[in-house]
């Protein structure tokens, strides 16, 4: 059965995040309550995601390398967004991430039951919005990382690639590169390509469509065609959150707000067999 491989230290999982850092990411989300820029919103979400990944892997004796993570920004320049000690490193095991954030901020966190407490909030990714949308260049880096991964880890849960963008590529047609990524596979299935479109305008969100019929713009149709069909476990996770998905639903959200980004990243990076 596909997408059921156990995630372990012997069989880790590869996560690649591609982050649009073009100039237009300075704008705010078109809807939702988040008031800062899309660039800041995405940086906050990614830092929170990495924080949660580290905690999921942290055990009494240390952090177990269940995941290897890459975060690639595309604006100007294009490349890994890890800095400090991790500068220049593309795919980093979660234990190394855990010990090397850029800094640790202290932020207030609301716990179940209403209690508030000031907690550690490590920062790995800084917001940036400069340059054009060099999505093809970023996808090529992802393709290289996925290719190396499936050769080195043939039995692993398939690599997951998440692309967060607010528009179309300005450096060519990204579809062939995305399809090349989706064609790479481990014994457990094909690599998965998720695309989240972040909008500053229209409030109409389109979540996980099975068809591109309703998509109003050509670049949205392209992003749809770059998106994998959701595996059952991920689709079921989204249905449990109250979303009605059709058969063949794609890993694509159009006009996403920050909440949808958080939701898909959380469910998409939570393979059910890491209990």
């Amino acid at each position: 059965m596909a997408y059921s491989a156990e995630i372990s230290r012997h069989n880790p999982c590869c996560l690649v995040f591609l982050i649009d850092q073009s100039r237009s990411m300075r704008e705010r989300f078109g809807h939702g309550e988040y008031t800062q820029s899309k660039a800041q919103g995405v940086a906050d979400v990614l830092n929170r995601l990495l924080f949660n990944l580290v905690l999921r892997c942290a055990k009494s004796e240390g952090v177990r390398d269940y995941f290897y993570v890459a975060v690639v920004g595309y604006g100007h320049p294009v490349g890994t967004l890890f800095g400090g000690v991790l500068a220049g490193k593309e795919l980093v095991p979660v234990s190394i991430l855990a010990d090397n954030p850029l800094r640790i901020e202290r932020r207030e966190r609301l716990f179940e039951g209403g209690e508030r407490s000031v907690v550690n909030f490590p920062i790995w990714i800084e917001p940036k919005a400069y340059g054009w949308t060099h999505m093809c260049e970023a996808l090529s880096i992802a393709e290289k990382l996925v290719d190396q991964w499936v050769i080195a880890h043939p039995k692993s849960y398939p690599p997951l690639v998440f692309n967060l963008t607010d528009g179309g590529a300005t450096d060519g047609d990204p579809v062939p590169i995305a399809r090349a990524i989706m064609a790479k596979s481990t014994m457990d299935g094909d690599a998965l390509s998720f695309n989240l479109h972040l909008s500053s305008r229209s409030p109409r969100i389109v979540q996980y469509p099975a068809s591109d019929s309703w998509l109003p713009e050509q670049y949205a149709v392209r992003l749809f065609s770059m998106s994998s069909v959701l595996p059952n476990a991920i689709a079921d996770g989204l249905r449990q959150e109250g979303l009605g998905l059709q058969a063949g639903a794609r890993a694509f959200v159009y006009n996403s707000d920050l909440a949808s980004v958080i939701q898909l990243l959380d469910i998409g990076t939570r393979p059910s067999n890491l209990r």
Partner: protein, 258 residues
């Protein structure tokens, strides 16, 4: 009443034995006469830290009769303090993620069984009662028939997000609503099995599909035989290509009444 309780356990493949995070009470073979007996198993959640410590605190409290019947939440504060004291004594200073894990606390399932004395009029049978949070399960077998499955009754009911009891006081918002209680009658020669979820799911599925789970387990008398059985079932695949027994810490306590 004469009771023989024998625990069996094996850690997950890929982990070291000391990384096993289930717990069982009693930890050793027990062969005793008595009027009342308590047993427990617990399964510490993989994604939390020091969950094995928490699971052990829970089964010990259960086994010693320190958990309030039908009001488990009121018993927790003292145990939560015990957990925090135990883990806080470890290496200091803690990395930022270890601080956060302590703050979040550990989570565990819990299954407790109390076998009461024989009733005065029968002299040979009596009452048992059980409490459960999460997906560790109790199976009562009589004459090679499964007569009770608690709290889950079929393999389809297992999922990856059961409600668990937390060592953090703020982490138990849903626990009170998800505690299950059950009672029933025991008779001489009944066998009770307490299992953590991976083996419990295997048991129900094998019993549903082939009716042979009880016979399989009756063959196991030693830790070596248990380890062999677990390995075989982890390697055997079902019709969908999945292992018959999911790779996880495996714990079974078999309680025989005479």
């Amino acid at each position: 009443m004469h009771v023989v309780a024998q625990p069996f356990w094996l850690h997950k493949v890929g982990n070291a034995p000391e990384e096993y995070e289930d717990a069982v009470w009693p930890e050793q073979l027990t062969d005793q006469e008595g009027k009342l007996f308590r047993f427990a198993v617990a399964d510490g959640a993989t994604e939390t830290s020091f969950s094995g410590v928490w699971a052990n605190i829970l089964v010990r409290a259960c086994g010693r009769g320190q958990l309030k019947d039908r009001n488990l939440p009121k018993s927790l504060p003292r145990l939560q303090k015990e957990w925090l004291t135990s883990v806080s004594l470890r290496a200091q200073p803690l990395p930022w993620y270890a601080e956060e894990k302590l703050r979040d606390g550990a989570f565990s399932s819990l299954l407790g069984l109390t076998i009461g004395p024989a009733t005065a009029d029968s002299g040979k049978s009596g009452r048992w009662k059980a409490v459960a949070i999460g997906d560790s399960c109790l199976f009562q077998v009589r004459d090679d028939h499964l007569i009770t499955a608690f709290p889950l009754e079929n393999a389809q009911q297992f999922n990856n997000r059961p409600v668990l009891v937390s060592s953090n006081p703020t982490g138990n918002g849903r626990v009170a609503a998800d505690i299950s209680n059950k009672s029933g009658e025991w008779q001489p020669h009944d066998i009770f099995y307490l299992m953590t979820d991976a083996l419990a799911c295997w048991f129900l599925r094998r019993q549903e599909e082939e009716g042979s789970a009880i016979v399989c387990l009756s063959d196991i008398e030693t830790p070596a035989r248990f380890a062999q059985f677990v390995q075989e079932e982890r390697e055997q695949l079902d019709a969908l290509g999945r292992p018959c027994l999911r790779n996880d810490d495996v714990t079974m306590l078999r309680v025989k009444l005479f």
